[in-house]
């Protein structure tokens, strides 16, 4: 994959470049602020960008704002937001365009290198990947009301894993279920959330978004 990295901490930027290089990826640009990120993405059109939310000059949400702008400007621009803390407001803003190809992970997740690379690959492939912590907080904020209240405990578990970007087979493995039963739960979730079959693959994203109250 061709990857752009935007991270203001030198030590983490170099670490990511090294890690992705070792795993055979092509880091086309590693930049340290949002302005450089914008020009790097416009120039290189990478498969995916890893973006730190908090960057100079104000150290608040520069990375997020640049990501939202870039996604408006370039269709299908895949971005994995990378942060040391979880802010549900950011996650909701990022997910609001419902276009997929986004992720929001805690920086801690790089410790599991393969999982991190897998998440990166999925975002590049157009999926939505959320950190379990993000999901937990979003769900806590949404509460259990509306159509979500009708889901069974098992269905909620499946939806929780879907929100983390897991595929059906991964969910089946996690919950010790057969692929067939996961499929059944997923269909039931779609039905209960009122998502008609015609919306195809995007239904998965929509279900997650509804689940997260975005």
């Amino acid at each position: 994959m061709r990857i752009v990295i935007a991270e203001d901490s030198t030590i983490l930027r170099q670490g990511l470049v090294e890690l992705l290089g070792l795993r055979g990826h092509d880091v086309v640009a590693a930049v340290k602020d949002a302005e450089e990120l914008r020009s790097a993405v416009r120039a290189h059109r990478p498969d995916v960008s890893v973006v730190d939310i908090r960057m100079p000059p104000s150290h608040t949400d520069e990375g997020l704002r640049a990501a939202i702008e870039l996604r408006e400007e370039l269709a299908g621009c895949a971005i994995l937001l990378f942060s040391q803390y979880v802010e549900t407001k950011y996650a909701k803003q990022l997910l609001a365009d419902q276009a997929g190809a986004v992720g929001y992970l805690l920086k801690d997740r790089v410790a599991e290198v393969s999982d991190f690379l897998d998440a990166l690959r999925r975002v590049a492939a157009g999926e939505t990947v959320l950190d379990p912590e993000v999901v937990r907080q979003l769900f806590a904020a949404t509460g259990r009301s509306g159509p979500l209240a009708e889901l069974t405990a098992r269905e909620r578990e499946v939806l929780d894993l879907m929100a983390q970007g897991r595929s059906n087979s991964a969910i089946a493995a996690d919950l010790f279920l057969s692929a067939g039963s996961v499929e059944k739960y997923v269909t039931s979730i779609f039905a209960k959330l009122g998502l008609p079959p015609s919306e195809g693959h995007n239904r998965r994203v929509l279900a997650v978004l509804r689940y997260l109250g975005v």
Partner: protein
């Protein structure tokens, strides 16, 4: 009775004259201030006239600023005199806040509210000066003359040259003497009445912060303290985010890579070794950064007292410093921390700007803790808005601390912080 005991201790504040000692002091005040304040007023008015006359030349503004400064000094002189003679200790008004530049200096000097108040005091004191001499003075003169008339009458049998005191018969002179005694008895009352007026006038125009100003000061310093605490927390969060946390993420990243490399069939040992080495470096760096951060929050050495903590600061900064702490008892921890951070920052300043050895002295006078940091560096240190010293002064304010800086060009620099200790 409690009230009488209180009366004995505190000088009487009503219209009733106090003991003789007090009346004497009040009379002395009326004489000294009676000459001083009209004379001062004449000089001030002359100065103002010169200043106004010269103002088209621009030079006049300088003269005016000088005169205004003079008014402030005269106000201070009267305040101190009143403090001694009238037993009316008044708080000095806040000093003028000066900023660099001639224009700022002029504006600050000419707009010095307390100096103009002192000027108003000089004007309003004129009637009191006059009354002091005209009423109290003539009562005294008449009283002494009339009381001595019976004796003098034997020698002169004549009219006295003052107040037309005259009598044909000796019993008549006794009547005069009784009148004189009455006049003399009235003197302390008049003197005291004038002194009471003077006290009020001084309190109104010469004193610094009253309760209202104190309230405003407390509001301001409370806001400063809150802002300071919030900023400190923000800084700690930033330091954690950019420091230890980043090091730990980098370390986890490298160990993750190493772990996965070790799980493969063809382990590249060189790569694993390099990764572990780098992760080890991250871990050590994270430890250093956490320790620095912890020291910034609360220095562990401070638990053992200011001298140990400040000696540690000197050693850590690699500077030569003589630290001496002479306090009767340990200040409360919150105050100790304030003094510690002020001293540590001053010492860091010395290390940064002067490089010369410094002396840190902490002692106590009259319930006030004095922190003095002296160095033989090049001098020229000043409290400028937004500067390091101003920051220290600002952080001392919530505990009523004051920072003074004496740093002539060529040195030495003496920075003193005074912090009142709780009783």
């Amino acid at each position: 009775m409690t009230s009488r005991a209180a009366d004995a201790r505190t000088p009487r504040r009503g219209w009733w004259p106090g003991p003789l000692r007090q009346t004497r002091a009040e009379a002395a005040w009326l004489v000294v201030a009676g000459v001083l304040s009209p004379a001062a007023l004449v000089v001030v008015l002359a100065g103002l006239a010169v200043g106004v006359a010269l103002s088209p030349l621009g030079l006049g503004l300088l003269v005016l600023a000088g005169v205004v400064r003079g008014m402030r000094l005269l106000g201070g002189l009267h305040r101190r005199l009143a403090g001694v003679l009238l037993d009316a200790p008044l708080r000095a008004p806040a000093p003028v806040v000066l900023r660099p530049g001639l224009w700022h200096w002029l504006v600050a000097r000419l707009g010095d509210r307390h100096a103009w108040r002192a000027g108003a005091y000089l004007v309003l004191r004129v009637p009191i000066s006059f009354a002091g001499f005209a009423v109290a003075g003539s009562l005294l003169v008449f009283g002494v003359a009339a009381v001595s008339y019976p004796v003098l009458w034997f020698f002169t049998r004549d009219v006295l040259p003052v107040y037309n005191i005259v009598s044909r018969t000796w019993p008549g002179t006794v009547l005069w003497a009784v009148g004189g005694v009455l006049a003399l008895a009235a003197v302390p009352w008049v003197v005291h009445a004038l002194a009471v007026l003077d006290r009020q006038l001084g309190r109104l125009l010469l004193s610094g912060p009253g309760l209202l100003q104190r309230l405003r000061f407390l509001e301001e310093t409370r806001a400063t303290a809150l802002e300071d605490a919030a900023q400190r927390l923000r800084r700690i969060e930033r330091d954690l985010h950019d420091g230890a946390q980043a090091q730990l993420v980098a370390m986890a990243m490298k160990l993750g890579l190493a772990k996965e490399e070790l799980a493969t069939d063809t382990v590249d040992l060189d790569q694993v070794r390099a990764l572990v080495e780098a992760a080890h470096g991250n871990a050590k760096q994270a430890l250093v950064e956490l320790r620095d951060l912890a020291r910034g929050i609360h220095p562990a050495a401070l638990d053992k007292g200011l001298d140990v903590a400040l000696s540690t600061v000197a050693t850590a900064a690699g500077m030569t410093a003589t630290v001496s702490v002479r306090l009767g008892r340990r200040p409360p921890p919150s105050l100790e921390a304030v003094v510690y951070f002020a001293a540590a920052e001053l010492m860091t300043n010395v290390a940064k700007h002067s490089g010369k050895p410094c002396t840190v002295r902490i002692d106590e006078h009259d319930g006030v803790l004095h922190l003095t940091v002296t160095d033989a560096g090049p001098g020229g240190a000043a409290v400028v808005p937004g500067g390091g010293l101003a920051g220290i002064a600002e952080r001392l304010r919530p505990v009523d601390g004051e920072l003074t800086v004496a740093s002539p060009p060529g040195g030495p620099t003496v920075v003193t912080a005074e912090v009142p200790l709780p009783r």
